[in-house]
Symmetry: C2
Subunit: 571 residues, 2 copies
């Protein structure tokens, strides 16, 4: 393997020492968040909490080897964990050996999909999902996750694919709620909200600054979990409150469960569509974060490198016996603000997580699930983005509608069907927009060689001549609209048209379907005594058209001006 | 209901008499083809042959009421019939009462989908499939159909989803072939090929001209079927050769089988995806035919009216107890060349078919299946279009690849998965093309106000100034590429850039995702001391941008020339 590119700038103008001073403190901050989050998201994915730690070691190293983003913090995240649970629900019982084997298979499959897409340079598939659709999907998924975690908070178990059934089942289960669990959960929730808002300023007022203050405030969620666990132990609440329970020690929790490959064979084809969806959603989420990072660090975003990096991370997660991972939003922001300059920060994080797994894994057993639920709720609540809708409503109503459809899709159909309908909405919206490109009848601004839209400028025209500018590439999706617009315009001209000039300055390509349409159209025009002319053809397109008989049958003019002035007898 | 629009031109300048002289002869020609084809395609769809006649009566009337194309001949066609059989195969046994009920349900569901899409004005979904993809799909499906019918020809029964398994199973079944069936089938095949090629010229040489010659030559397939049926009866081959067998008399075959609605309830959700696919494929096939017709008859193509027309036809077919129908290619061409001027031709055809059903239905019983198979083979062989690939290879290699992928998809995966992969290929190709729009660094052609591509023209530039033209609308799918291209170009400029001018003459729209990107990009530029300017903004886009803070932060110039000349101190 060649040396990862990110090493290059780092070795040129930075020593290991300066890297340590940037990446290591960031890694400490990220790890402090990663410990509680990885436990909580493991629970969300339906696997034992310590599997979350396993998902936060090798995947980070794998991403550092293949990924490029200088501050993307990879590991378990809320959305893909919830998608994992939703994909496995019809196939196994949560936390069973079968469930865990299938979760690992899901990671391997998404990893393989991502890695292969990276090799095939399919990074453009991030474009399957527009921001409004992704935003609507994430907001909806956050609501679903919160509803699900509210059940853990009150100490009951509810299921349901859609928000409505979840909320309904939750209401029905409320009478059976566990007071100890509820009290502890609400206390944690309160603690998390308060420390999130006030810990930083309070520590500043206490005279703490810089990295010490950052570390203490980022450690607040971890401290709250530790306090909750100690309370359970001290007050002997193990029978009252559901806890994480006994976990295997040290390295034994890193790796595939025995018997997993046999379970895989039967589930491969059933899990593949879900793996594909998790791969796409995780990739789109990571790429938008990586894009934001690229604006703050002097690196170019390479979606194909991100595909390979996330693919390697998921393959590593699967081999660790864990579940799908991707780039997290909140941890990446902390990583970036903490000063991470290279993916090496992820390697430091992985080292720290390994220490935690080896040294403190046993301390997890009395951690109450209700505290983890509180952590998830606080984390995903920030994903519900209402300001986005307001901005969309003001700027672009089609986009606002996409947001709403994606949101409703998730809330009513669940995460999997929700993201599928989101993709469908994205693509339908794209086709719809592109099936009706902008076109304008041109005239000449008197005294110039400048041709502008007849309906917006005072321009001169010439009888018998219709000049139309098409503002899009011609392809199978828009030729129909273009042709019918041209026919409409031809029919409403005051004097019979003898020459139709297509001004092609904005047209970079014509695909074979549109070319076929153009050829038929030229035939039709000829029978009506109208000559078709092309003006301002771009070089590459002209080269392509020269290979067709159509080019010879048209009159081709270099500029609009030439086409405008040419005598009709030239035909 | 308002009067169908097609009546308007017809009543203005044509009398009933002139319509009868145009539509009626065309209808006779079409009916002569429709009788044998509807029997054969019914067999292809796995339903008894007389159901094909039922599918050719009410649907034609329904299309005439809601559709607009003046010469589209609606009824059973090969591709949708094969898709019907493929959709029902996992759910029932061919020709059973359950199969027939489900075939009718499939027609009702596709009809409902098409009609609702028509009401929602979703005609643009015809753009889901490019011509190369549709061409590859149809060629592949034709190969699948021929392989399947070869089995009927030799008198054996084989199954298989993909071309490979079909061919393999066919080879294995050959030793069991029925000599009587094979002889009769090959004789029919020969007769069909010879009459298709030589009947017209021969009749001309015999002194026949005009409509008489057309009718006789178009009746050839029907005559061959009649001869085959008479032979079976005369030679008492009923036990040697599989025949259509006893069918219910007259009107009783028009209508839903009793018990159908109970069967439907259980199959609704399983059949819906197939109904959707059949609707889309049938619609795309009809619309391309209707488009060709619109070029020959003075009518505008309205895809939404076609959706409603085909939707009504399929609803009528379902209520007749038949199977999905759509606009056929060969019959439409004959209809058009026969002189059809309005959808009334379809009503005449329906009347003739009703007479056939009532008067001659009983004569079908000794019709041998091998003759129908020969008819299908000859009809679909014309759908395999090799010249298209040659043209694509010459003009556009991406399109040629799409053709090949769609073809292989159908051959290897079967019709349903094949068309889905075709749609995926279409959309992926579209996204791929559109994710990398054409961009050019502009310079001024000396002595003019004309700005052209630096790398193609001798132009002048100004130090500290970079002017870039973007030749596409900015949207979520291409902003990444645009931004990274701009950053690349900024980095390789010989002198530091102080102003980046985006020449927006080809940009008609910026969606919210791209706007967000532009805003971030402007921030990044500002930190590097580069001012972002926009030139040649189009009116509607400028109106939209005015509603954002971004507009105020940019310098906006009316023309490239203004932006080029403005002093840097203007910032």
């Amino acid at each position: 393997m060649t040396r990862p590119d990110w090493l290059a700038p780092w070795q040129q103008d930075r020593s290991w020492r300066t890297s340590l001073s940037g990446d290591l403190p960031a890694a400490v901050l990220v790890t402090l968040m990663l410990i509680p989050q990885s436990l909580a998201y493991a629970m969300l994915a339906g696997v034992p909490a310590h599997i979350g730690l396993a998902a936060s070691i090798l995947p980070l190293v794998a991403y550092a080897l293949f990924g490029r983003s200088p501050a993307l913090a990879v590991g378990p995240v809320a959305i893909t964990s919830a998608m994992t649970a939703s994909a496995l629900a019809p196939l196994a019982t949560p936390a069973s050996a079968e469930w865990m084997a299938l979760a690992a298979l899901l990671a391997l499959l998404s990893g393989a999909v991502l890695f292969v897409m990276g090799l095939l340079r399919l990074g453009f598939i991030a474009n399957l999902l527009s921001h409004p659709v992704m935003g609507g999907f994430i907001s909806g998924a956050a609501v679903l996750i919160i509803l699900g975690q509210c059940a853990s908070l009150v100490g009951v178990r509810v299921t349901g694919e859609s928000a409505l059934t979840l909320a309904w089942n939750l209401l029905g289960a409320l009478p059976k709620s566990n007071p100890a669990s509820l009290t502890m959960g609400l206390a944690c929730l309160l603690g998390l909200v308060l420390t999130r808002r006030y810990a930083g300023p309070l520590l500043s007022r206490l005279g703490l600054t810089g990295i010490a203050r950052d570390i203490l405030s980022k450690a607040a969620p971890l401290l709250i979990l530790v306090i909750a666990a100690l309370l359970v132990k001290a007050l002997h609440l193990e029978d009252e409150v559901q806890t994480v329970g006994q976990i295997p020690a040290g390295f034994s929790s890193l790796g595939l469960a025995p018997g997993a490959p046999e379970i895989w064979l039967g589930a491969l084809s059933a899990l593949f569509p879900s793996a594909l969806l998790i791969a796409v959603v995780g990739f789109v989420e990571s790429v938008s974060m990586a894009r934001a990072i690229a604006e703050r660090r002097p690196t170019a975003l390479d979606p194909n490198a991100e595909l390979r990096g996330l693919g390697a991370a998921n393959l590593a997660s699967g081999l660790s016996g864990a579940f799908p991972v991707t780039g997290g939003l909140s941890r990446s922001i902390v990583n970036l603000e903490g000063g991470a300059m290279t993916p090496m920060a992820g390697v430091y994080s992985a080292g720290l997580m390994l220490l935690v797994l080896l040294g403190f894994g046993q301390m997890l057993s009395s951690l109450p699930l209700t505290a983890l639920a509180a952590l998830v709720i606080v984390a995903v609540a920030t994903l519900i983005d209402i300001r986005l809708v307001k901005r969309l409503l003001k700027y672009d109503r089609v986009d606002a509608l996409s947001w709403l459809l994606a949101l409703c899709g998730v809330l009513l159909l669940g995460v999997e069907a929700g993201i599928l309908s989101g993709i469908a909405v994205s693509i339908a919206g794209l086709l719809w927009r592109q099936s009706r490109p902008h076109m304008a009848i041109l005239g000449r601004i008197p005294g110039t060689e400048h041709f502008r839209n007849l309906s917006r400028h005072a321009v001169e025209t010439r009888p018998g001549l219709l000049m139309v500018r098409i503002d899009a590439d011609l392809f199978f999706g828009n030729w129909d609209h273009i042709q019918s617009t041209l026919l409409d315009w031809l029919h409403v001209q005051p004097s019979p048209v003898r020459r139709l000039i297509l001004s092609m300055g904005s047209v970079s390509d014509i695909d074979s379907t549109a070319l076929e349409g153009l050829e038929h159209f030229e035939n039709t025009l000829q029978t009506q005594g109208i000559a078709l002319a092309l003006a301002e053809l771009k070089g590459p397109l002209e080269d392509k058209l020269r290979r067709t008989g159509f080019y010879d049958r048209c009159n081709v003019f270099r500029s609009n001006q030439d086409a405008f002035l040419a005598p009709f007898s030239a035909y």
